[in-house]
Symmetry: C2
């Protein structure tokens, strides 16, 4: 249910219960979604939906969420040990509360979390001014994460709508949210989103800076930009996209591209560089920027301003020239103890995807890669959540740590609530498919539980374990709405006589002993030997159906 | 528009014109979809929609489609040269009209088509009793094809609905259709579908055979099955799924699976084998079956009755034991000049997909692989068109020739019209993404044309070139419905000031000469050298932002 006054999606998830894992002290409480099955088992799932799905918590969007990290931040401030970033603590060998929180959340040891952060292979984006957020970690050795973009544009949308999209996106599984507003009330929209967000919030400060100079790229300056970054840092933004790799001399490399520069930030900085015929102020002032971000523990998301916007432009000279510069900037940021991830494309055909992640991992020394899709074809506007989920699943399997979703509205308009959900679901599928392919510990338990429910015709369990229980239930009920169908040993796809799972169960019921005895006797090798023997028998008997196995 | 009396979707596609490429004689007319762009260019696309989208043809579902291949079949019958299969002709070195047709359709030489068929690497499914169908080819060196399943079940659907689904599926790009009816009026439904289908029709004869014995698997017999095959062969079915690889001794291998046997045909044959404790009649009578199929030029689709139905069961002993048997049967079928493809899974995590296609290609000596997805995770019922489009795109890139679609209703209910469209579109995306990754000649022209339209803000062209023009247009118009927005240099996603493509175009307008000069001067190597030089300069000047490139 949506609170009409405030825009927040705040009801418990049907068929699940909100639970918490408790750490070494009572204020380390990691939220989980518990699905209690009809067979008595419970499946525990990662949960990003925040207090909104906890019936014990009264959420008031005007008051904001409880500041669960405030005490941890204050305790550390009193230590006075120097740099406040998670990277600095990790390098000093310290395990913060946030690290313990994510360790519990990901079923890893706190030491492992600390070491991954210290090596720069993972980031834990937590602005000290955003105490409301529940700590989460982004890195190739953790669960693949999904970011959902929200934000108004000059053409459409309001503050309430954006807060609603944020709670809606996290309800369906978004691990971070970027507020990309470019329209009216940018500051106010962001304030509401931050105070009510249970996940880290990212922004592209350049957008607001451009608004401040009336939308004229050439009137941008380091000073306007810096002040905007500080304004957003004070509000609590957890990570910021900075297009500091778009250098003056790279811009001509885009001249003969099919689709030029398709990153907003990239095109703005290219316009600035050309207008002034000077190097980008983001690049020349990068060290100062590091100092600001370090003071708040804001994570860099180094933007790929020259990413390809079409299949034709994938993996070209402009894109990879910028990537090399991002690698340099990555090293500078680490020197300043600033956590850093690196953004990636874009539009890339399947055969060119792996090169992207391999190069990025090499050049940026394993800094987490954060990719937009990539879209694997240009021909399907209105379905780019699918064209890109394909590329996203693959690139995540090969090492990308976080996927920026693409909605069905990409290239066509600003996503609404339904588009946000469609985008998040498609990307949760891609992320989980990658977790499975990477063999992430425990990832397959979810699939196994759902498959068991399916095979045993526990329809309610199947729905409740689904990524989207509401839609799974609704689709089933379209043709078989009656209550008895919820325990029936078939659905309308095949009907009762043709349900393979039913036949398969009947086989087990009728021939169980025989099957078990057979399974005990036979290893794969024995089966193979048995086949070869049968084959010989057949051949000797003059029958034709078998051909020798060997040829 | 749907003809309410007959169920056929029969109106021209908006924004495109039906055209034909003519071959060596006037009755070889290959249909194409021509999109005339506002910049004066024309893009020619593969077209499966049949006469329904040709305003010059009056389609009457009661009369059926024109029998375009009848003369070719009759001319060959008069030759009396022996086996009538395309494989037999190809092996004799002959190029049939059908081969010339598909050569024109795929922009290949007729000799190449013939040689691929002769080698068994491609099939051209054309029952001599289905003269209405437009020839198409399935093979790894041709465009990746998509099959759509339709068919009623005992629970739902009517003949009209199935004919409508067939025309609807081909309108959106289905290259073949399988009629999997298991309910009432199986024979009549199939007759209507065949007489009105512009694409090859596949079936699983076992389903109708089972109906004939009252749904009791143990009462099936070779005789009932054979008669059903002949009945369907006479009607004109172009390819048949036969689960002849489910052998008695493989059934115990499924006993400890998470989800047992999930293929309908597989579970029926397993039940029969266990009930009689005898080898499958499909296997023991396989040579006779080959003789029947050869007489009509029906193509085998060797079914994978033991495919995995969950991530947990992927690539197990049961699955690969059956695959080896399918390899043997493949060789038997080829001896009988029967064209043959082989079906594949199912549910497979991404890291285990490639093994499937590599093994199949090796064991079945490059016979076309025809896979259901595979689904890359089990957790998303209601979105299995997406979980499986991911696997489908990958397996097609690696060599699968045809993809059997999965709709959002998979596991939940019988797909309706909207589900059929959603499934076809998701799979056309997967197939085209694979064509791009394989570097299929000409595949990228479509993407390039759409990207050009996008970059030049030719909105109408972008819509008309889309896989689904209706939805692309509708999504755009949701927020910017007015006519001037169709030529505007932005959309509602970013608004006018933040449109990167607009900024990129402005850059070209303002700095075009400078950019072109830059692009002329700079090769990638020069850029790299330039970077290194700048880096040195910076380092020498004492600034910190640059780090040496070398490390």
């Amino acid at each position: 249910m949506t609170d009409q006054r405030t825009g927040a999606s705040s009801t418990p998830v049907i068929g699940a219960h909100k639970g918490y894992l408790t750490g070494s002290r009572p204020d380390i409480r990691v939220p989980v979604r518990r699905v209690h099955l009809t067979d008595g088992n419970t499946v525990t799932l990662y949960d990003t939906s925040g207090p909104y799905t906890d019936p014990e918590v009264e959420c008031d969007v005007r008051a904001g969420l409880p500041a669960l990290r405030r005490r941890w931040i204050e305790e550390r401030a009193n230590d006075g040990t120097g740099d406040v970033t998670q990277l600095a603590y990790a390098r000093r060998g310290e395990i913060t509360r946030e690290m313990e929180f994510v360790a519990l959340r990901e079923n890893r040891s706190p030491e492992f979390v600390r070491d991954e952060i210290a090596a720069g292979r993972a980031v834990l984006p937590v602005n000290i001014h955003h105490p409301e957020s529940e700590p989460m970690i982004i890195g190739q050795n953790f669960l693949v994460k999904v970011n959902a973009n929200i934000g108004n544009s000059a053409v459409t949308s309001s503050v309430d709508e954006e807060v609603e999209k944020m709670t809606w996106a996290t309800r369906w599984g978004a691990d971070t949210v970027m507020d990309l507003s470019t329209g009216r009330d940018i500051h106010t929209t962001r304030e509401w989103v931050l105070r009510n967000s249970p996940v880290p919030i990212g922004t592209v400060p350049l957008y607001q800076a451009l608004e401040k100079v009336g939308g004229k790229a050439e009137e941008l300056s380091w000073e306007v930009y810096r002040d905007t970054v500080i304004e957003q840092a004070e509000q609590g933004v957890d990570y910021m996209t900075v297009h500091a790799g778009v250098l003056l001399r790279y811009v001509p490399l885009t001249a003969r591209r099919r689709t030029g520069i398709v990153s907003r930030g990239g095109s703005i900085m290219a316009a600035w560089c050309l207008a002034h015929h000077r190097e980008s102020f983001l690049y020349t002032h990068f060290a100062e920027l590091c100092e600001i971000l370090a003071a708040y523990d804001i994570t860099f998301s180094l933007g790929d301003g020259l990413r390809p916007g079409s299949i034709a432009d994938a993996n070209d000279a402009a894109q990879f020239a910028e990537l090399r510069t991002l690698g340099e900037l990555c090293a500078v940021a680490r020197e300043h103890n600033v956590q850093t991830m690196v953004e990636g494309p874009g539009h890339v055909p399947m055969d060119k995807i792996k090169e992207n992640v391999d190069l990025q991992q090499e050049i940026c020394r394993e800094a987490p890669f954060y990719t937009l899709g990539p879209l694997t074809t240009d021909i399907a506007p209105a379905y780019d959540h699918i064209t890109s989920a394909i590329g996203a699943a693959m690139i995540a399997w090969w090492g990308t740590a976080m996927l920026c979703y693409v909605t069905p509205k990409e290239h066509l308009g600003l996503p609404d609530r339904d588009d946000v959900k469609a985008g998040v679901i498609a990307y949760k599928i891609a992320a989980h498919a990658a977790d499975l392919a990477k063999g992430h510990p425990g990832a397959q338990l979810w699939d196994d539980a759902l498959s068991d429910a399916r095979f045993e015709f526990r329809w309610e369990d199947q729905f409740n374990l689904s990524l989207d229980p509401d839609t799974a239930r609704a689709y089933h009920d379209e043709t078989l709405p009656a209550e008895p169908a919820k325990t029936a040993h078939f659905c309308s796809m095949c009907g009762p006589k043709f349900c393979s799972m039913k036949i398969s169960q009947d086989i087990r019921a009728d021939f169980g002993d025989q099957l078990e005895a057979g399974a005990d006797q036979l290893s794969t090798d024995e089966i193979e030997r048995g086949m070869a023997e049968k084959s010989r028998e057949f051949a000797e008997s003059g029958q034709r159906v078998y051909l020798p196995l060997a040829d």
